[in-house]
Symmetry: C2
Subunit: 315 residues, 2 copies
């Protein structure tokens, strides 16, 4: 354990290793302009070679609502499966689960919100109804031996309801766990959370769900993602959602943009002596390629700094 001397000489501890959940190819690209299946496949294959062990590769949702994910079948069929990598798919219902199974997804992910307002706007039902809807999905997935991950959005603030009480986050996280999710990803969907509020939220959630069953999913819309991550790491969180080149955001939350970039997370972990097993340079290269296709710069300061170093050396 890395030890850090704090102000009063107290010791804060960081985990020796963390797992990164790469969501760029799904949560990222579903909120960008559409790219070809070939581009997605190339991105995922590059990410697979970087040392990442968990890649969300697609979503089996209505192409009417999320046209960017309409080719998830092609993507799952086209990628080269690395034996060290878990390839997961987001599914909204039984139909999506069937498609995920047909594509041999290794795991599935379901989603709800910690706030009623967001749940209503996002999936058109109450939190309770969303949990009921996912019950048969989880149960059938489990019968087939598929592990289920749960996304919980708006764990700090909701664009419709304002601040989300930490106890409410804890209670929905517990419900997802009881439903059968082996891991709950706590999402600061609009990125307004600051470290003290994130700490209080995690403190409340940890009373119901063990830290090892939790992941954090930060958005950098207000620049707080790494400070929030730093706080979370000191509280025993060992799974981090992140998105290569900072791809994506949330289409349903006004003003929301910017999953925290995988490159930035890697640089922070590296600096804290926390093992990730992931090659930063390779992830950065994958990010430059997809950013080039999207016609814009990566939304990652580490990626830009690495690129600038590289081009300076060449000249």
């Amino acid at each position: 354990m890395k030890a850090l001397l704090s102000r009063a000489g107290l010791l804060c501890e960081f985990p020796p290793a963390v797992t990164l959940v790469e969501v760029g190819a799904r949560d990222g690209l579903q909120n960008e302009s559409a790219v070809t299946s070939a581009a997605k496949i190339a991105l995922i294959d590059q990410l697979s070679a970087s040392g990442l062990t968990y890649i969300e590769a697609g979503a089996f949702v209505s192409p009417k609502w999320v046209p960017q994910m309409a080719d998830s079948h092609e993507v799952f069929s086209g990628i080269q499966r690395a034996p060290t990598v878990t390839y997961s798919a987001l599914v909204p219902n039984l139909r999506g689960l069937e498609q995920a199974i047909a594509c041999q997804a290794d795991e599935i992910a379901i989603f709800t919100s910690a706030s009623q307002g967001f749940c209503q706007h996002n999936i058109n039902c109450s939190i309770e109804q969303s949990l009921q809807r996912f019950e048969p999905v989880v149960s059938q997935a489990q019968q087939l031996g598929l592990k289920v991950r749960g996304y919980l959005s708006c764990v700090a603030d909701c664009p419709y309801d304002g601040p989300t009480p930490p106890e409410q986050v804890a209670s929905v996280a517990e419900a997802l766990r009881d439903l059968g999710c082996y891991q709950i990803s706590l999402g600061d969907t609009i990125g307004t959370g600051t470290p003290l509020r994130i700490a209080r939220m995690l403190e409340a959630v940890r009373k119901q769900v063990q830290a090892k069953q939790l992941a954090v999913h930060f958005h950098d819309t207000w620049g707080m993602a790494l400070a929030n991550l730093y706080q979370s790491l000191s509280m025993g969180i060992t799974t981090i959602d992140c998105s290569v080149a900072g791809l994506g955001g949330c289409p349903y939350a006004p003003g929301a943009a910017g999953n925290v970039a995988t490159e930035d997370v890697l640089y922070l972990c590296q600096g804290l002596g926390i093992h990730t097993g992931v090659d930063l340079q390779q992830v950065a290269k994958a990010g430059w390629a997809i950013s080039h296709i999207l016609g814009r710069r990566p939304i990652s300061k580490v990626s830009l700094a690495l690129y600038s170093k590289l081009t300076q050396k060449k000249t």
Copy 2:
């Protein structure tokens, strides 16, 4: 004091209030394309109205080396002095001090480096020589009742020498204090520092210089500024250098760019319940105005998020 429950249930404390040192008009603009004196004056006047109490307004350095600061005399003469604000000037030598006095600067700032390599490249002498050169400047300033602030660069890494040993930072910080500086601003000039290394550096420096005599000056080139600031706040640092709209960088350090944005610092402090006395909206407005003049977007996620909220409400 705000208390934060850490992993092991230990308490980390944050200061109830901090002072922001706004360096955008000097450290920022000296590294941007030149703007008119009128634009600088308007920027400083807007910042003065925001509640900021310390504004670095110019530098009396060679116009051959830093042409962007050649009009510091006009700027000091043109601004409306708010009685609550300290207006300081950077000076490299006795000639600069005379000019600062002629312009009625409230304080002066001098500068050296914690690394020999950077000192040589930046001011063409060793650290020891730089301290000797500044001795008559500090002594004459003190005779006139002018307080002197000291900048110390490369406190984490040096682009020429690599990592800077924390003890070396501590030793030069102590020398600056002994020279007569009432405050030492610790600069992560190339922005490569991560929280654990910043903590170790601060730990070493605090053994020689009291925390209340220290300021932190972070660059966000590698996205670490706010995580580093969060760590520093937990270690008793109460003065923070920052730059409206993230103006500027360092012209002497290859690849270096991006003083941490004042807006981002304010949002973090606000979220931690730390008093700043500064109006975030007014700083953001000042940042939008100068960014418009520079023809680019603010380098501040908080500023961009605020702007996006504002324009969404209007439509």
